[in-house]
Amino acid sequence: MINQILLVVYVAVIVILSIKLRQGTFSGFVVSDRNVMYPAVIGIAFTAAYFSAASFLGGGGYGLIAGFPWVIWATLMHVAFACLAWIMAPRIWAMAKSYDAKTVPQLLERRYGSPGGRVLLAGIMLVMYTVYLIAIFKGCAHLFEGLLGISYIQGLLVAVVIVAIYYAVGGLPAILWISFIQGIIMVGGAILLYAVLLYNGGGTEIWANIPAAVTSMSGDLVPWQKTVGTAFSISLGLLALPDLLIMIFSAKDGRVVKFAGIYSPIAIAIYALCIFSIGVLAYGVFTAEELAPFIKNPDSFVPFVATSLLPPGFDAIILLAAISAAMSTISAIVLVTTTTLTADTLRFLRPEIPDDRVLVLTRVVGVLIIVVSALMARNVPELIVPLVSLSMGVIACCVFIPLLFGLYWDRGTSAGFVSGLVATFISIVVWNFYGNPLIHPVMVGIVVGTVAYLAASLVTKPADFSQIISVGDGKE
């Protein structure tokens, strides 16, 4: 009963916020008219959108298998990339504002004068984000299953209805505010899980009970090189995922971006440390026999910790935190995936189409994407982490190279942008199937993509510098 009441309150808050923040213009729907003036909202929503149910469930459970290297490398890389992302953010905001860019492919198109590159990137994002959406919908449906005692398909249906409502009504402003609230629940849930494990393990005494094989930095069941690659590929998303960048675009001024850069890295550091440590800390509380079933199915490990260690009612908060993690990511991804089709591809084919038509299409196509990916989620592979790691890594890699050089290097050209995209995508796919499994495909992609970008930029004519608007550090 407590679970149902909690869910009703949760959904009521979401619906009220969506209606209050409903949008009538395309610019309002996709970048909140660049008028968000609360740094905490952007900073925490960024964190919530980045961390999905895969981090909460997969990331929490993966420590059981990968041991200490996962805790150390995943946390370290998340904090490092979060810090870098927010050091770059004021420049990204200034560039988006000066180009009046409402989507990430549009920003890069204007930076490089490359409509072809924009459509290519939009295509890559569409395919890869859809793969990712399917994985998160699956996680989310399982969580509703656990929270409400309903079937998996019913769980999917609940997830679809809630996300579709707040996406279609409120657009980015609703996504930002709801993700802000979800982010607070997520960080609270992560701290609660960490604390309850430490408490049950006897405080710092817990470390004495954890087997040496688990705390070995060379990795017991998974080689450490593999863990480093997975951690790198996932956390790279913080630097360049378009569903996060649009949140930076929505800031009212440089001051908002600056202070969002304080809230977000702190939230990311706390959340990452708590969540990624869970799998290892569990060895200090549970016996090897109790943990054995979760080595095969790590995604169900976090709900197990919650139900076995927390008093009734509190485990619902953990499930709600995981649901929040899933929904905040789904909503932001649906928005950027939809705009790749409407604002990027459709505008490329029919530039004369008016903004209000694009807005209607963005609402309708977004709901269609939600429904289609939920339908595809009815039957997907068990483990979330590797799937997510590759799809997000591809997008992050494809955006990161042209974005970074576009911000700090004037010599990059349209040919460099397109070659970088093609080389990154192909090298990741090829390496994934034929390369050395100890080296993560995304690591190969970032090297090959950068070389292709630099080589093609240097052999082609420099861009007309009068076209490139100089960007500062986001100062007013």
Binding site: F68, L76, V79, C83, I87, E205, A208, I266, A269, K475
Partner: protein, 32 residues
């Protein structure tokens, strides 16, 4: 009877160090 394994303590120290450097860089910009 120890606080935490060395890699974990090193992780905590590096996290605090990275956050401190970042905030220093971000906040210093306003003085420009």
């Amino acid at each position: 009877m120890f606080l935490a394994p060395t890699p974990y303590l090193a992780l905590l120290a590096s996290m605090i160090f990275m956050l401190a450097i970042t905030f220093f860089v971000i906040l210093r910009r306003s003085d420009d």
